[in-house]
Symmetry: C2
Subunit: 479 residues, 2 copies
């Protein structure tokens, strides 16, 4: 176990210094590296493979709900950004501007997209003429740039990868339904792929997207009790359709502006996966995004037949669609155990001479560290698939139980302070006034607020001013 200790020493203690633990694991497991330009990140093979798995799973859901993928240009005329007043106010300070091609100055500076509402609207105004063109349901996978002062890999980077859905609808009702539908798609995806329970709800007026009438989000609790906003869905009303003059001839023979929605999740989800599931040994990858779902480690590799059997198991599992890796390097089994624990591989499969003799493999689950058990080689692929599903369910249940035990219902500012200082979400009633929201944020650093869809009251009065309450709301400290 000397090797295990060496590894644990390499990573900061998750209980004592969570931020340093995060930095240590993302770098040491080679998920990511720092890019040469401040605030940028390099996604290494192990990290990018997580993103590929996220993309594949989410893309299937986006298409199943009737959306088609498109690709619009990276560079947007600056004049577009200015057309929607709140939008430019929100994004102008952090946009990267292209001013020159080689030595030649451009006649108009170009914005490297921070998001694409404006350029989508420009194209929509050409494509939409009639109610027959609606709903228009498109999505793009792209890179965006938002210059951030404080950056952390995956969580907040100057450039990130994401998908942005953009849709147009003939009626407000249909657009509002799309807004919630896609939030629910994110919620289901987070549960069944990332093994993360999400709080879904509405952001306050103060927190909504620059240009939206309403913003909804999915929010996850990290292992330090902080909140991570993991995805958003915006009801944009006609705020962009009007300045971009998008109009359609409706069935009643009149021209109308359509109602618009946008929704997105990003490489930030990888940060959520890391911080919702890790432990003192490193990452815990949920099986359905894990780049390697099962790692095979041959024991006494020099003995006749061991490597051959390991190769055979690998081929069998790969054929069943399991993402499997065989580590046949000359590192010791102990070194390998620690390496793949740190990398969070959900299932370890040891195979040695005694296992072969007994017709079994020796298995160990990352989510139940230390427990070893055997499984017959006959039917191993099916056993592994069942185990991966069990690991997924256990990880989800563990994350849900952790979050539920860290939600405190509070009635006044003292209780609210105690709750958030104690690494919890505080659930309270709120009068809905900006003054109370600001006061709570400033005094208690509750940078996360989310009003759940379930508004069944937990009291009558605002946690801050004591006046009659309008909303139920979660308060937390945000990434």
């Amino acid at each position: 176990m000397a090797k295990a200790n060496e590894f644990v020493k390499d990573i900061a203690d998750i209980r004592e210094n969570f931020p340093q633990w995060y930095t240590d694991v993302v770098i040491k497991t080679q998920l990511v590296d720092y890019g040469p330009v401040k605030g940028t990140m390099v996604m290494r093979p192990y990290g990018y493979a997580v993103w590929e798995n996220i993309q594949r799973e989410l893309d299937a859901r986006i298409k199943a709900t009737g959306h088609e993928n498109v690709y619009l240009p990276l560079l947007i005329p600056y004049s577009f950004l200015v057309k929607e007043a709140d939008h430019v106010e929100g994004f102008a300070p952090e946009v990267a501007l292209v001013t020159h091609i080689g030595d030649n100055e451009l006649p108009e500076k170009l914005v490297v997209r921070p998001t694409s509402e404006t350029i989508f609207c420009e194209m929509f105004s050409k494509w939409v003429q009639s109610y027959r063109d609606l709903p228009l349901l498109v999505n793009q996978w792209a890179n965006v740039i938002r210059w951030e002062k404080t950056t952390r890999p995956f969580l907040r980077t100057s450039e990130f990868l994401w998908q942005e859905g953009h849709t147009l609808h003939a009626t407000q009702q249909e657009a509002e339904e799309e807004t919630i539908k896609m939030l629910r798609v994110y919620e289901e995806f987070a549960k069944n792929v990332l093994a993360i329970p999400m709080l879904t709800g509405k952001k306050s007026e103060k927190e909504k997207f620059a240009g939206a009438d309403a913003t909804y989000s999915i929010e996850a609790m990290m292992l330090d009790g902080k909140s991570l906003q993991a995805g958003t869905s915006h009801y944009l009303g006609q705020n962009f359709a009007k300045p971009f003059d998008i109009r359609f001839l409706d069935k009643d023979g009149t021209h109308k502006h359509p109602y618009q929605v946008s929704w997105g999740v990003s490489t930030r989800l990888i940060g959520a996966v890391i911080m919702a599931h890790g432990d003192e040994r490193g990452l815990k990858m949920p099986p359905y995004v894990a780049p390697v779902q099962a790692v095979i480690i041959p024991v006494a590799m020099h003995k006749a037949g061991v490597l051959e059997k390991a190769e055979e198991i690998k081929a069998t599992l790969a054929k069943a669609g399991i993402r499997v890796k065989l580590d046949a390097t000359d590192n010791s089994p102990g070194w390998k155990f620690n390496e793949y624990e740190m990398k969070g591989v959900p299932l370890r499969i040891e195979i040695g001479p005694r296992d072969i003799e007994n017709g079994v493999a020796t298995l160990s689950r990352r989510d139940k560290a230390g427990e070893k058990f055997t499984a017959p080689l006959e039917g191993l692929a099916q056993s592994v698939q069942t185990l991966l599903q069990e690991i997924h369910e256990n990880m989800y249940a563990t994350a849900l139980a952790f979050r539920d035990s860290h939600v405190k219902t509070v009635r006044n500012m003292d209780e609210l302070k105690e709750a958030v200082d104690g690494q919890n979400f505080a659930l309270s009633m709120w009068c809905g006034d900006r003054a109370c929201e600001d006061k709570i944020k400033e005094t208690l650093q509750t940078t996360s607020r989310n009003m759940p869809f379930d508004q069944s009251p937990v009291g009558d009065t605002c946690v801050c001013c004591g006046k009659k309450a309008k909303h139920k709301i979660y308060w937390g400290r945000a990434y």
Copy 2:
């Protein structure tokens, strides 16, 4: 057939005005639209779906040859570009430069990547220490910007999507083998997925990539006899490894610079697909990249059971993995026939009351316009899969026969002129001197040159100067 004529009138005559035909089909079939910034393009759902199919097929091949995907930042410090002299000379005039974030000027201007050799090298210099770290085989799917004066959708755009492979090797031999291996991967992919025969070979010194020791390419003949360079693979030697100080400790205990390779294909491939396969009616999509492989058109849709049967066929084909679309709109069957012919859907499936009575569907292949035949509904999915493979093979054979009939072996400048003026590739011997290359290019606009791997001579003397020849070479006019 009145409708057919209407459509044909919408598209310029492919024999009389090929460039206009190209512009007409890419816009009218909604593959693409023009972006608001000059030279940019918007990939609409029908066009982006082609790219998704290309990505899926090629990505599988890139991974099967041992490469892993990564993602590196879009923005590169200008100082990196300058480190390799030929590289900066080649790219500096056409790079987009980010100089400001909002109102704040950056301390160093940033290049929006035109290609990523320099930033990969920066990261490689951190990641590579020992021969154990080699070969390092990575690839990224990304957008790049190269500001072009004359642009055309897919063929030459200010921004395009591509993959760029970047690899490092301990020996020159291994790097040279990788260069050719990936060219062969492209060639096989073009044949088996795009149904396009490629000429593979080496570019002249004059034409090689800025910073490479040698550039190899795949080149396809378009229907107007012009050449389209569809992909490149570059042997970079140690040209970047030295200025970026990438070094590894070799087995012999000494530090060495590794040898480097890069290779890429882009959304230009979609232009190749369009121009290698179309006809006077519009696009002809090769089945394995076609967004819709088979379209079902119900005939006498109002009759009982027709739509139900059409839905049933759709479900059966979709379940078998066929990309199928059912057009149940109230447009006439004739209108639909023309629409999907223009869009190049490989297979049309009509289903009407008489078909149902006979237990068949009526089929029509896009590659054999006009021919109708029936297939039993029993086992239709299998029949469709067989037909798609036959269509693919026929399209490849047709493109190959067309190209082979448009290659003329020439011995002197008169013959060379006659060949290229007659929309052919000219195959000749060449002395290898830049003077002859320049003369031929300037007098005959042979903007495409490619030296095939098969150098079995077609003569002894240079087509231009008459001196002893060194190389066999194809001359053509390029996109």
